[in-house]
Subunit: 153 residues, 2 copies
Amino acid sequence: MKISTRFSDAIHLLAFIHIYKGKIPLTSENIASSIETSPVMVRKLMGELRKAGLIETKHGTPDPKLAKPTDKISLLDVYLAVERNKPLFEIDHKTNPQCIVGGNIQETLSEYYNQAEIAAKAKLNDTRLSDVIDTILVKQKEKEYLQKQQNYE
Amino acid sequence: MKISTRFSDAIHLLAFIHIYKGKIPLTSENIASSIETSPVMVRKLMGELRKAGLIETKHGTPDPKLAKPTDKISLLDVYLAVERNKPLFEIDHKTNPQCIVGGNIQETLSEYYNQAEIAAKAKLNDTRLSDVIDTILVKQKEKEYLQKQQNYE
DNA sequence: TTTATTTGTAATTTGTATAATTACAACTGA
DNA sequence: TCAGTTGTAATTATACAAATTACAAATAAA
C-alpha cells in the first residue's frame, strides 16, 4: 500500500501557518518546502481545510490564515477534514455471502472495529493544534540548547 | 491506495476454522472460497498465525486447528500476528529538518498518534474471537428466521 | 491597465504496496 | 506409489496516493 500522509501533512501545514505567519510569505511553495512535497499537494490540502472551516484563503493571495484559535482546532477536526470517513481498519467487502462466516463477517467486524475507531478518535479529539504547536516549540528550544552546549565544549 | 484486508481476512479465517471444523475439509481452497481470495493468500496468512501461536497446522494435511480456546484469542492478538507493528496513523518521515516545524513534527505527532493507537488497540484487546463468532452465529440465525417467515407469507 | 505572481483545480503520469498468479519442493495418507 | 495438500518464493497485475503538467482566475504592484 502506498501510505497516505495527508493527515500528518495537514497538521504540519496548520502548525506552519501559525508559526511562520508574518515572518515569511506563506506561499504554497514555501509550505511545500517544509513538508517536502509539491505545492499542488499543499494547495489541495488547503482546499479541504478551507471547506472544513479550519483556514481562510484568498484566491491569488499567498496569505492563508487559521479560521479559529489553535486551541479550538482538534486533531480530529483535521482528520475529518482530509480523510473524511476513511475507516481505520479495513473490512474485506468481497466475501462469499453463501457462507455463514462470509455472509455475516462484514457487519460483525464493522461493529467491533467501530468501537476501536471511536476510542482512537476520542483521543484525537482531546488533542488540540495548540498542544502540537507547543510540543514542537519545546522540542526546538531543547535542540537549540543542546547545540549551544556543544559549542562551548 | 490499494487497501489491505489482511486483518479482516485473518479473523475470517479463524472463525471459519472454528465453525466448519469437522463439517467440511479445511483446505486452503475451501477457506479461500469463503473469503473470496486465493488459496495462496490463505496459506500465507495461516503461516503468520501459526508463527504467532494462534493456530497449529501440519504440512501436507488440510486440517488446521486453533491453538487456544476462542475466548483466549483477542482481536489484538490477530492484528499483531498479521500487521506486526504497522502504525494506524502514518507519519510523513520526509520533512525538512531545517524548518522548526519539519524538524520536530515527526517526534511530536508520534507521541500523540501513539496515545490514539493505544486506545484503539485496548478495545481490540477487549474483543475476543469468541465474541466475533457468537455475533456471526446470531446474525445467521436471525437471517434464517427472517427467510422462514417469508416462506409462510 | 498591464504584468508578474499566486491560487485553485483538472487531467495525466508515476511510483509503489498489496493481491493474484504461477511454480514447485516437501509432506501426508490411502 | 501417487493424488492431494501445504509452505514458500518469484513474478505479474491492480489499485490508488503522490507528483507532475497545465492553465484559468484572482491579486497586487508597477
